[in-house]
Symmetry: D2
Subunit: 481 residues, 4 copies
């Protein structure tokens, strides 16, 4: 049962009636809205990949929680170095095909560790609830929307100082549950999920304890509103024009909680401000290691698209600057992937059983590849040529009066038809000259934390003092200052 097919997933959405808005309008049927097409399709592809027997279990793993196979990248709590290595390889592969691998297992794993910490520190019993909750997700083949980032309002004030409060918090504790209000931002794919899981996004002080809250609710819980931003792909149906963004990637949403009730069995933290900072800490290690592999997949996709358009243009991927630019893409991919693997080797087991990669290596590898992305996008346009932004559109090609002109004047390289060439150019356009470009850039720059946070992690984790002492020894300095 855990491995739903894509169709079963879509069918399951019909049982839910979340309060979703898009372009200001309330969405009636999530599974059948032109601006949610890509969102639903993206998740559907993940289900099909795991469920397809032809894949021979490549994308699944036997869950110790349920004894059943579950989708590794979406569902499994990572518990060993091998788990981490295997997931990184799959993440790279899937991301090279649809940009985002839907790595919700990362979110579940970091929450797993933080909730365990809460229990250890406070003698509470949240972790068994969370374990049961994850087991339920795995059994039901559920998709979660992840609510981590608070809007934060005025950046110079702490959460409890915001007036009125902007961030998600407990507003009432009742015998049977809690009531929460506030907002979370950056809820990727949220409208097409079954569940919403909330966690804190930063270290908190005692006055912020109401903001130290983690819980899960069904996506259509009363009071939960999702204001969604259209996915980067087109609303209209196209066949050639946006090959990737017409099928994949989805909406981002701002999630509003207006006095939402959560029963205690779905509460995983409530007031333990001391552990709130652990969540982003584990996220910085575990998710960024994963993102090294994810970004490597993007570079793989760029390399393939660049070489393809070179050929379709009648040039070789092995000549001059084209070769060098593709080599740069390859090397960025391999360096980031190498760091993903290296971070796994240098990682360790968290007391909760989650395997935590080495945060320093993961952040350094990620920072390296993210700093190359702008160059790769530019290279795709460079190799594709000016036509990437000036070629006729699909509708022109479909017009029989125009097609002969286009066919003739945009003749392609050996072995390629003009239509092939237009398709290759459109792939470059989709990646490097469309709204998707902005999404890819956003995924690279801001998702999983910005470059500044990478630098901070590297700096904080590094034992500089021991290197200073080594330098003193070499120089013959005895000062201890």
């Amino acid at each position: 049962m855990a491995l739903l097919t894509g169709d079963e997933y879509v069918e399951s959405l019909k049982a839910l009636s979340p309060e979703v808005y898009i372009r200001g309008q309330r969405v009636d049927k999530v599974w059948d809205h032109p601006l949610l097409h890509q969102t639903v399709n993206h998740i559907r592809a993940n289900f099909d990949r795991a469920a397809d027997p032809a894949n021979g279990g490549k994308y699944t793993v036997r869950s110790p929680l349920t004894g059943e196979d579950v989708a590794r990248v979406q569902m499994h709590i990572q518990a060993s170095m091998d788990d981490v290595l295997t997931k990184a390889r799959l993440t790279r592969e899937i991301s090279s095909q649809q940009i985002c691998s839907g790595c919700m297992s990362n979110m579940l794993s970091v929450t797993w560790a933080m909730v365990h910490d809460v229990d250890q520190a406070h003698g509470t019993d949240y972790h068994s609830r969370f374990r049961d909750y994850v087991a339920g997700l795995q059994k039901g083949g559920k998709v979660i929307a992840w609510g981590m980032m608070d809007p934060k309002g005025n950046r110079k004030l702490r959460p409890h100082q915001q007036d009125p409060p902007t961030d998600l918090r407990v507003v009432e504790q009742k015998p049977d549950g809690i009531v929460v209000s506030g907002a979370k931002v950056h809820t990727t794919f949220g409208p097409a999920a079954h569940e919403f899981v909330a966690v804190p996004c930063r270290a908190l002080g005692p006055e912020d304890k109401d903001f130290a809250v983690s819980f899960a609710v069904p996506i259509d819980t009363p009071g939960l509103k999702l204001i969604a931003r259209p996915s980067p792909g087109p609303a209209r149906q196209t066949e050639m024009e946006s090959p990737l963004s017409s099928k994949f990637l989805g909406v981002e949403a701002m999630s509003i909680f207006d006095n939402v009730f959560v029963p205690w069995e779905r509460v995983f933290m409530c007031g333990q401000w001391q552990q709130a900072g652990n969540l982003p800490l584990y996220f910085a290690s575990l998710h960024r290691q994963s993102k090294c592999a994810c970004s490597a997949g993007h570079a793989d996709l760029f390399a393939g698209a660049a070489a393809l358009v070179a050929r379709a243009n009648g040039l070789s991927e092995n000549s001059g600057h084209i070769r060098e630019k593709i080599t740069d893409m390859i090397m960025a991919a391999e360096t980031a992937f190498g760091c993903a693997m290296g971070a796994a080797v240098e990682g360790q087991i968290h007391p909760s059983g989650v395997f935590m990669p080495n945060a320093s290596i993961a952040n350094c590898g990620l920072n390296h590849i993210r700093s190359t992305l702008g160059d790769h996008l530019a290279a795709l346009q460079d190799i594709g040529g000016g036509l990437v932004t000036t070629m006729p559109t699909e509708a022109d090609w479909q017009n029989p009066a125009l097609r002969p002109y286009i066919e003739r004047h945009l003749a392609a390289g050996p072995g390629y038809s003009t239509e092939d060439r237009l398709r290759a150019l459109n792939l470059c356009q989709d990646l490097a000259a469309s709204r998707l470009t902005g999404t890819i850039l956003g995924f690279t720059v801001n998702a999983a934390g910005s470059s500044e946070t990478n630098r901070l992690v590297a700096r904080v984790m590094y034992d500089l003092e021991s290197r200073i002492n080594m330098a003193k020894d070499l120089a013959g300095i005895t000062s201890r200052a």
Copy 2:
């Protein structure tokens, strides 16, 4: 008469009926089509800027051809170092406001020089025709579409070897004129122009002499078809969401010539293959110097937008990494602008009277700033934050049921309303996460020639042998190898 207002320009379009296609459909009224709105508006703004008496002649210059004031950036043949310096300053300013300054004077100037070369070499009399033609443009306040780049077909074959031919060429010479067929690509703003000017795009051999052709025709000449690609901005009317791309930048087109007749008085070159290569040579010098200033303007815009969104987010443009990233934008702008000015100083007068900037400095300055663009776009998203790609849309904001939630949870920094913040974020989105992003990247990467051509010019113009000899002298080597 030469300085039309924007309204007069729009009115003038009504007298023309060019054969324009967009998304596969024939366009009826260029001046009133939702997908040509930005194109027309962009040009209109250029007219208004020059014609507005409040600008005190800042954007105009007295043309020696007509004795009347003309728009400097669009119309004037540059004839002195001061012309070049002044135009570069204006280009930087205008490009910082609407990305593209409409620098058609560059195209006219390089054609001016090449046509002069043709006459000098062949004893022909094309240059007086071209002079008259330019004077006519200036008197009439005409906009030209520029057709330089041929589609080139199979890159490994010369123009005359393409079968069937892809590039624009003379197919018949008649007593009263010539007949041309073929295509030009990358016709920016073409549908909203009055005239089409064609020039060769590369060095040609004797077998390619039919491709050595330059001429002008009215935009609605029979047989000329423009297949336009929608501008990067939205088709629907928006107020907040795409502040720049909803107003400026326009369509790109592929221009088809299907047996178009050109009377001799509008032919400026016909068969003189020896001079064809001079056009791209002069273009590489003159237009790239201009583009240094243009790109500097883009970096100015990025710097302003980045500092604005930092403030609207409640942060300071002077703190930490934000300051450093804005400083990088500033330095890219100043370096490119410095090279624009330096290329002017090191330039010289072409025998035709056109002032040619130093090509090496211009190409090096341009290559420097273009290599930084990816970083600036990433920095805009970084400083803007994740909301750049995840914030609610304008329609959500206009929905009274949603606005209070957005208002509260996306509260802005001191002195800014939530709406201000959304507007600042939308400016960043328009620049760094929209189809406009792809256009800006395309302008940077491919327009006016790619980075490889910059490198080629720098290498070819450099006297390496003299530096090798200097190194030999220093090292005490007498070998002449």
Copy 3:
């Protein structure tokens, strides 16, 4: 016996009388020559590190060949992922203290694999000889000089086409052995070694079979001449001025073989040109993985020295640009080290039993850190300040008439004396403004192969075709071209 102390090593040199030249003069006593002081001391330190019981076996490993402990980095054939991970950690540590870890085990391991390949392909029995030879080295605690790179003469000709031949080759085969002539370049530390091991440096064709030769000879074998270039450190004794280069790093030599006889039991390859290219192939994988860790150690040293001089100058390592530059050093180190570990994880066992790291990751990680070195050296001078190149010398400080002036005017930051500050500045000077700087740069740029070879390996190992096919699938292209 295998773990000699440093003193025992020096003593052992007295039994050898190699033909060594330095600055044109024949060296009499290698162990007592002012220009070989650092060379001998560098190796001595490696012996002491392994032999010192206080290190608790950290630097040793039980050799399966001898059943005795041997120095891991210098002697052990790496046979497992753990071997690789452990060696990488040690290499980073040692290189951070003396730049070069003396990683001769890399050279022995790649030769081990190639010789095994020879036997597999040709049914020969060289590998048992090499095994015995390595066991003998391990038992005797011998140091090898490594001769891989041939001079190559005219780069456009193959080895057998050089006239006269420049590269090392077999000139005669005799019943009891072979006679070799030619040269090897870049023999690091050679004069202070006990043995010389020669291997081929590139793929060879059948006509080049005489150049397909591998063997070992005692360093003082008749006919072997070493022309050594002084180490980067000073010849005169200094205490403060060159803290690192006065103690460590050594001579490079050009090794001439003038009809040198090698008995068959010390020949490991003779004419099997088909396997010659395997040596550089394995070297590119195994040694470059090691060099990632080595370069990480250099960045660690730079980070420590930079933070130290900041403090000694009265500034903090945590302020402004100093912090950012040190963070860059840290991130370069962690990225390279991460790739070293990742390359180990993605490696595999060669049939000979040698564990081969993943070459692509190793080359990409190395290329990344090597591309940052110039910036780090510049940063050391930047943080140190102008005094790094303008401060008074040690002799000035020792002059009692000058010291009070220096003491007063070069007062240091809190907790540091002027002498401490001079020492910290001198460490920066030694690293970033001395002949050692050139050596470090050379180690980074050319040792273990240049950046171009890194790029080549990454390109060749990458499955680009599969990514092109993926791009075709996404774009909807069926062409197989």
Copy 4:
């Protein structure tokens, strides 16, 4: 008389007896000391260049102060845009031959402007004294040592707070002059100068007024002690080995003033703390513009050396990565030189008559080229190959027993002898793998102010507020915050 020959200059040194120390020893004859050989020779070359009639006045200009020709780069107060452009061209050329052009005219020009400011603000009469002083230098063909940078002691304290004081200051005012004590650091070529000119190095407050002092004294004034650091070149005579550093570049010194008396007619500022900051301000504009051209010359030298060694190695400067790396050098040179010229065009006349280049462009251009230097040095070693750091030395080559081996095994490319190749390699070694490397790096990183100061100038001079307002207008924001 103003244009001394090199020999006349050396002769003139014999009349002086400065108190110079080098390696702790008092120097007796500056003109005849092995460690001052390069220092004297460097200056001698500047004299010969200007005095040589064969140069047709290229390096001289008629001084308005004396009516006589003076060396432009060393002596002339720059008074027009043409002066700046001409000097930049000469600076680039000379720096490409001997690294440092001896641009003392920059120092005189900025002092000229600051002293003028003092008079304007305080009604004093220092400027006429300085004018006379400069006229005297020009008439006598005098060389100045420039003392600008104070040691600064504890960086967190102001000059008057240092205890004891470290910086140069007035300790007594007398009827006939002032007495000064303290130190200046980074006195380049000081021991071989005739005069010492001191100026303040930073903005000062009223309590620091004693440090606001500018004056000139003969180099052998009692109480002035120069502690010199040997030049980067060798002390021993070589012919091949250090082709550049054996002839050019010289000592750096720390200059101690121990109660030195200065008569009023040689005092140019005394206590006017308000104008002290103008000196570094003008320096940041004028000297950095000059340094753009100087650094361009270095890149020219690197390009020539790289192409030469490629040829001598038997490769072409036009193949593969060699071509790209040389192109990078060329482009760095042209970009910096372009900014030097652009800064001149955008400059303006200071009220004192000095032409001040645009500081923003100058700093941006300088920062660009300085950020490329590490890469160029690495490229020189890369193109030269490992032999740059491992080849035999000159003495080996001179040994008849070794030469035949070297001759044969280090055979060179077509048209080059082995000796030619060694010479080319030695030039690379001198530039990229010697103590000179550290000096070049130091000149690039720290001389004329560090990269951080470039960034500061660019930031401070930029009108960011106007760009923020433009962004507000585009976005439709009316907030004035």
